[in-house]
């Protein structure tokens, strides 16, 4: 309760300072709109439904790209951890590609797929896949061998061991990778939406882009806030409960 109060006081003071600074004419309203102006834009965008539409369009793309990234990343991670050959080839490639900011894929995606949903999906998948693949492979390599031996003595075959022992045992790593993958997917998609103009739906990235074109900085800042809010909500609603359950089960400390 005390922590929440501190957060409210600190952010309240920050907003008040921002608003008062604008009132006093310390900086240009065009370059840095006041909180009330941004709140006004947000209210309008929520009222006419354009913000919600953008969130839905972006969310759909995100879930699709993220889902494909997961469906490819986890099995490929399992395979990579099991085969020396894949570890030396695919593993190395994944490590290299993970360090590549996914916005670098945008020019290639545009040439390959044109101004399409596929191009955007491709960028998102490239952003997610490698982090998830690497985390899964890492998790599997960290499974204590004694678990596998114990399972074998109880009659567990290779496939059963993989699905019922190795995969759950590496879950803390896999969830970590999924969280990282989610953050990467989110970034990739914003980059893709800013650069790829499609007529199949206006996402948050497009709203931000048009805010810039219109020199409407309150729109740019409003969309930035919306992007942060969505990211925060997903983290709290999706990942936090899973992580809590894992920590409870595994008995690892959590503050």
């Amino acid at each position: 309760m005390k922590r929440a109060l501190i957060a409210i006081v600190v952010f309240g003071a920050l907003l008040a300072g921002w608003q008062l600074g604008g009132d006093a004419g310390l900086w240009s309203d065009t370059l840095m709109p006041q909180p009330m102006t941004i709140a006004g834009w947000l209210r309008g965008a929520i009222a006419d439904g354009s913000l919600l539409d953008a969130v839905i369009v972006t969310g759909r793309r995100l879930l699709l790209g993220y889902g494909v990234g997961l469906c490819l990343g986890i099995p490929l991670g399992l395979l990579t951890s099991r085969s020396r050959l894949l570890q030396d080839t695919l593993g190395l490639l994944a490590l290299g590609l993970q360090t590549l900011p996914s916005v670098c894929w945008v020019p290639l995606a545009l040439v390959w797929f044109g101004q399409t949903e596929t191009a955007m999906g491709f960028v998102v998948v490239m952003g997610t896949l490698w982090a998830i693949l690497l985390a899964t492979a890492d998790g599997v390599r960290n499974v204590p061998p004694i678990y596998v031996r114990a399972a074998r003595t109880m009659g567990s075959g290779p496939v059963h061991t993989l699905l019922r022992v190795v995969l759950p045992a590496s879950l803390p790593f896999v969830i970590g990778g999924m969280k990282q993958g989610w953050a990467f997917a989110w970034r990739s998609l914003m980059a893709a939406e800013i650069y790829v103009t499609v007529l199949t739906g206006f996402g948050l990235g497009h709203l931000l882009h048009y805010g810039r074109e219109l020199h409407a900085m309150e729109q740019v800042l409003g969309v930035m806030l919306a992007i942060m809010a969505v990211g925060l909500i997903v983290d709290r609603l999706l990942f936090l409960p899973i992580e809590r359950a894992l920590h409870r089960r595994w008995g690892t400390a959590r503050g």
Partner: protein
């Protein structure tokens, strides 16, 4: 409890028969002989302790019997059949409990049962509950593994090994990481369970007293290469306590045998 796999065969041959088992460890071209010509028969329901210093290959021998490792020479038969891999008829208990942290105590005991055909979920749960009760943990069914003490973890591990109703229990220094008081309680419990469930047990230890307290026979092994140097019978009544005078006496004799290996004269030759 239904007895599907635990029925002793009428011919009453040895439950385990090891004949001339040899095992090498290979590393970068050099070969190290870890087990040399080990032969041993274990009768159904017998409790045999493998005793020896570290490096005498006793754990390797246990792994070979478990089917986790293949011998380089000789053969292992379990109730007349050659051992080619792990089997639910020979369950293993390791030094570390090796319990799965993503399952609760009951879930761990149920793991082996899930692979046993002909059991539905309800039956599995019932069997698992029975064995958790047998090891005195009926109140900890839903405890997370990290919430259990070392002794309790080994109890869950024992319940997990017993649950599929194996004929043979292979125990690899299962109590060596526990404190003395917990260990003594587990000696009593294990003997009690042994009289109730009658398993053939192969128990690896480096603790002489433990071997004398638990075993019907003590197989004393010598290192480099690992081989059987002598077998000591323990004709003491059960249940035994680690502090019994008879146990102490047998332990003294076994200790003398172990010491003799290190003296220049005694090369462990039978």
């Amino acid at each position: 409890m239904s007895e599907t796999t635990g029925v002793p065969t009428p011919d009453a041959g040895p439950e385990l028969r090891l004949q001339g088992v040899r095992k090498f460890f290979r590393s970068r071209g050099s070969e190290l002989l870890v087990l040399d010509d080990v032969s041993l028969d274990v009768a159904p329901g017998e409790f045999v302790c493998l005793l020896g210093p570290s490096g005498c290959g006793k754990s390797t021998l246990l792994n070979v019997v478990a089917g986790l490792e293949q011998p380089d020479g000789g053969s292992v038969h379990a109730c007349g059949e050659a051992v080619v891999g792990p089997s639910r008829d020979r369950m293993v208990m390791f030094q570390e409990a090796a319990l799965f942290p993503w399952r609760d105590a009951l879930g761990n005991v149920m793991f082996g049962l899930e692979l046993k055909p002909g059991l539905d979920r309800k039956a599995r749960r019932e069997v698992a509950r029975y064995y958790l009760k047998l090891v005195g943990l009926e109140r900890f069914e839903h405890a997370a593994i990290h919430e259990l003490s070392g002794g309790m973890r080994q109890r869950v591990s024992l319940a997990r090994a017993l649950a599929p109703n194996p004929r043979v229990l292979l125990m690899d220094e299962p109590f060596s990481a526990l404190d003395a008081m917990t260990r003594e309680q587990l000696y009593a419990d294990l003997q009690g369970i042994q009289t109730k469930r009658r398993k053939t047990i192969l128990f690896v230890t480096h603790n002489v007293r433990e071997a004398a307290c638990l075993g019907d026979r003590i197989v004393v092994m010598s290192p480099h290469p690992g081989r059987i140097c002598q077998i000591v019978d323990v004709p003491l009544p059960r249940p035994r306590d680690i502090n019994d005078a008879g146990v102490a006496q047998i332990a003294r004799a076994a200790t003398a045998l172990l010491r003799a290996q290190h003296s220049p004269a005694g090369n462990g030759a039978p």
